[in-house]
């Protein structure tokens, strides 16, 4: 990223923070409450939580959260910006095409951070699990967030705003129920396992889980390789969609 591009990204992020400043405390509180709710609510959903299950669930929660932010929140905020004219206004400013998306996803990462911290801390205390956080968590979080946001942004820029809401709701349900984020891949039917071996979702969950526990599932290089490839492809498609002039 050049100096001018980095500067415009920082200014767009500042714009986002300023315009939502009155909601920030509420948003961070809600994200934190959601994390607390997941840890305590999980006990009702699964009565006999073993440490292995608790570890899987706890370390899957941030991945799910990042994907939902990218695929639903970024997508819906972008669709809303298209309706209000904010998207066209920012598109007429001298900023790189993906800078608004990067600012949006960074903003939501910042909003989520306190909630993640509280959730993981509570999980350690409540389920007596052991976390082993490594620095590789940082590139993992960035890759997962960017990939999900690129897909959400691409959908929002290409599809009519009303369709974006429906599409992203469908994707949320598919992620929650049919993606091996909070449970092992082996629990799915074989054909769905094959589908997920070609999709990045399993590898995204593996990356974040690995960054928190040191256990990267099948292969750390494979997980990084697959997610990086999807991230590059997603950003290229999002940029192309943003550059499209009707």
């Amino acid at each position: 990223m050049t100096g001018a591009a980095a500067r415009s990204f920082v200014l767009l992020l500042r714009w986002q923070l300023l315009r939502t400043r009155k909601l920030l405390v509420m948003l961070i509180t809600l994200q934190t409450a959601l994390g607390i709710g997941i840890i305590y609510g999980f006990g009702f959903l699964v009565p006999h939580v073993t440490p292995a299950v608790a570890l899987f669930f706890t370390t899957g929660a941030p991945t799910l959260s990042m994907m939902l932010i990218g695929l639903t929140v970024v997508a819906q905020e972008t669709a809303q910006a298209r309706v209000t004219g904010r998207f066209a206004y920012v598109s007429a400013l001298p900023v790189p095409r993906v800078a608004p998306m990067l600012a949006e996803v960074t903003y939501w990462l910042l909003v989520q951070l306190p909630g993640w911290f509280v959730t993981l801390l509570l999980a350690v205390v409540h389920f007596h699990i052991h976390l082993q956080v490594s620095l590789l968590l940082i590139p993992s979080v960035l890759l997962v967030s960017l990939t999900a946001a690129a897909v959400g942004y691409g959908v929002a820029v290409s599809a009519p705003p009303a369709a974006t809401t429906q599409l992203t709701q469908f994707l949320s349900i598919a992620l929650l129920l049919f993606s091996p984020i909070n449970f092992p891949l082996e629990r799915l039917p074989e054909w769905l396992q094959d589908v997920h071996r070609a999709l990045p979702i399993t590898y995204m969950a593996d990356l974040v889980r690995g960054g928190l526990t040191g256990n990267y599932g099948a292969s750390m290089p494979l997980a990084f390789g697959v997610v990086t490839a999807y991230c590059v492809a997603g950003l290229a498609l999002a940029t192309r969609a943003a550059r499209h002039r009707g």
Binding site: S8, L11, T84, G85, A92, L93, R245
Partner: protein, 308 residues
Amino acid sequence: MTVLDVAGLTKTYGDSVRANDDISLTVEAGEVFGLLGPNGAGKTTLVSQILGLLRPDSGRILIDGVDVVRRPDVARERCSYQPQAAAPVDGLSPREAIELVGRIRGCDRAEVRRRATALLDALDLTGVADRVAPMSGGMARLTGFCMAAVVPGRVVVLDEPTNDVDPLRRRAMWTQVRRLADEGAAVLLVTHNVLEAERCVDRLAIVAAGRVVAQGPPAALKAQLGAPLRLECTVEPGVPAPRPPASVTVTGTVGRRLLAHVQQQDLATAVEWAQDAQAQGAVTEFAVTPASLEDVYATWVASEGQPA
């Protein structure tokens, strides 16, 4: 020096809606160029292509000689823009919104602060400059203007800048528009407020049904009307007026208003006829004024390309 050069621009939506049809115009440095036309004439489509938001089907757009159809990034760099809809100022104070855009357009913090303060002061907004509250339509419009003017591009595009703005601040805004041009920008002013535009524009184009139907300085366009004076009568319904003399060319009626063009040498005859009509109760009042840009606009738009 030509800054904006549009030639043969055509844009069609779908298979049939031709929003712009072979539009050609130029805007010089230091010039305020008015783009006048009714709703749906294709003005905003033209602006969107200049800004690089839409791709034309055919034609050329050059800014300082650079083909911005191929290089929309250059269009974004060299154009500053006030949209027809309110600028996205929700959650921000006017000063924050202006400074953010100024800095995104590449100016340093101290200089942007100085320029924003000067603009806010010129538009009498200092008292509300730092207030973070939902803005009224007029306040959002004024802030949007400042966002376009704080670090002006080589081309400054203002789309209906004075809508919802009170008369005093409107006047101040026109002064600032003139200042932008005087400092070297090419200002493209999109409006259907013809009376206000007349005071500010150096040249203009009238757009109707996607085509430029007339173009030139206001004085030259008024001269094309062929009559320097306008006779306006308020007629009394149900009372027949005496037949106007041949030298009074009736151009139309709007409600109870009858509009006509009159040559300078026929003024006495026209006034005499109007006084007769008034004496008979057919006309309640009348006035003779110099023909305005509004007359030019109404004539060209009504005929869609053929002056009356």
